[in-house]
């Protein structure tokens, strides 16, 4: 893997009043890697993702995403990223094709490109005959795969996945990670948050956030060696054992 940084974060601080949500974060994410972002609820993951995706401005620090500055160039950043949350974000009352057309449309893809890629995608997912079915009629696993496919439909540089596998069965989760690998092979950078520790093992590198700070950042192997743990779960518990202020704060 080449080591071109595509996300550069230096001394990022985000405060809400007196509360420090992100406390002096510094890290790089390299092009084409799968970067895992771990942390308990309220550790500051969502705040960081919102800043990286241009939704919210940092209080201080330097942040560049896909080569653009988050203070001044959010427009360009938004064009070059994809986003998928736990809620899958598809419109239940629209068909598969309509959802694709809508999301691809707001990224400015031409009708011709949209039609070509839609056919391509449907046959890849083996659902060519389901294109005109409403999303509400699909099982959860399908929705999740579709949501991810739509998030990378416009071929972004980076895709942010915010707990993308919540509430999905283990087999579907496994299949979902196959899709993530495929996307990474097409040199899309994957930035994924999760609280399934087994999923952290699938990442190229993992950062662990505790109380707004990044406590550790390394490959899964590296982390396990450093903290003398059998798996990432143990690493996480060792790091998070220091009492966390408010557990459960979104």
């Amino acid at each position: 893997m080449n080591k071109t940084p595509i996300i550069q974060v230096k001394n990022l601080v985000k405060k809400f009043g007196n509360f420090i949500a992100n406390d002096n974060l510094t890290f790089d994410v390299y092009k084409g890697e799968i970067f895992g972002f771990l942390g308990a609820n309220g550790a500051g993951k969502t705040t960081a993702i919102r800043i990286l995706s241009g939704l919210s401005a940092p209080t201080s620090g330097k942040v560049k995403v896909a080569g653009y500055d988050v203070y001044r160039q959010t427009e360009q950043i938004k064009k070059n990223i994809g986003y998928m949350s736990q809620k899958f974000s598809l419109y239940e009352d629209l068909t598969i094709r309509e959802n694709i057309r809508f999301y691809a449309g707001i990224y400015g893809l031409s009708r011709k490109v949209i039609n070509e890629r839609t056919d391509e995608l449907l046959s890849k997912l083996n659902i060519t005959n389901l294109g005109d079915k409403l999303i509400s009629s699909l099982p959860l696993g399908w929705k999740q795969k579709l949501a991810f496919s739509i998030a990378i439909f416009h071929k972004p540089e980076i895709v942010f996945l915010d707990e993308p596998t919540g509430g999905v069965d283990p087999i579907t989760r496994r299949q979902f990670w196959d899709m993530i690998y495929d996307a990474a092979n097409e040199s899309i950078t994957i930035f994924v948050t999760t609280h399934y520790m087994d999923e952290a093992e699938y990442c190229d590198r993992v950062s662990i956030m505790v109380d707004g700070r990044i406590e550790a950042l390394d490959s899964p192997e590296g982390l396990k060696n450093t903290y003398k743990a059998k798996n990432i779960d143990e690493v996480f518990l060792k790091l998070a054992r220091t009492p966390i202020g408010e557990v459960g704060r979104g």
Binding site: I81, K87, Y91, E98, I106, F160
Partner: protein
Amino acid sequence: MKQFIGFVKKEFLHIFRDMRTMLVLFGLPIAQLLIFGFVVTNEIRNIKIAIYDRSKDDITIKISNKIISSGYFLLHENLTNINDIENIFQQGDVKEIIVFGPDFAKKLEKERTANIQLLADASDANTANLIVNYTMAIISDYMKKENQLTETPFQIVPEARMYFNEEMRSVYMFVPGTMALILMLVSALMTSVSIAREKELGTMEVLLVSPLKPAQIIIGKVIPYVVLSFINAVIIIVLGYYVFNMPVKGSLTLLLAESLLFISLALSLGIFISTIAKSQQVAMFISMFALMMPTILLSGFIFPIENMPVILQWLSHIMPPKYFIIIVKNIMLKGVGFSYVWKETLILIGMMMVFIALSIKKFKIRLD
């Protein structure tokens, strides 16, 4: 722009796919109009009247004083001619004009009978009816008391004439009210719910992360409802015209323009509600209780504002539908032009600005 059109298309799909939404959009206006076709009776108080007394004798002054001191009426002005009755009513203050003929007392003495004309502004049919009945009761009370003292009884014959609505069609007052209610409901409730739905589904996040600008998202959400509400306004006017024979005496263009203004106001209110509400249910709840109830109860739609307790009268001043109902009644029934409704129009524009400003402020805070 292409992205934006795609967005608007998507919004229309949401609406057309949802039976309930369609029902609320197009079933409701018709149902409302028919339901509110009933007459509601109420009390009156401090109604402004004008008196045109061509005799100025003992008896006319006595009758006038009795009417004014009854507590139901306030003397707004003494007229010196009666050429421009329509104009007086169009000003909107005076609800009834009482006309005594010349030589009233002399006639009564000689012929034992005399006439009083009662002219009422019946654009609010319900109130006009009440006003005339109250006035007649006072006059006949006077007559009775005087007749007890004389051997040869005399008779005063009141003649009532209803202006703008000669047949006293109560539906005339319900059409403007229903229009306000429907436009308020459809515009504010539907937009607030549809924005809240995107928040609930998590699609709002995806939209915000996309290259669409927040303004595009909001305007894209709003446009379908502007179009559909406008169609609704037209349906109500057409229904009023063909089913209830409700005239549009003034300019149709002005009426539609004012409707569009009111729709925009309701939409900005809907957007404001959605910035507060986190879920569809909360949005619906706020819309119902903060919009529906006041629109029905405090806007003068059903109950005359003049008769409300002072606090509620104050409250009614901040109810946007109140001003819209005044405008619609003036244009449809009195046939007046913009010069008579510019004040109300200005108030509606002002209210709209306030809601838009508040929404933008709220929206920015949320994004941070």
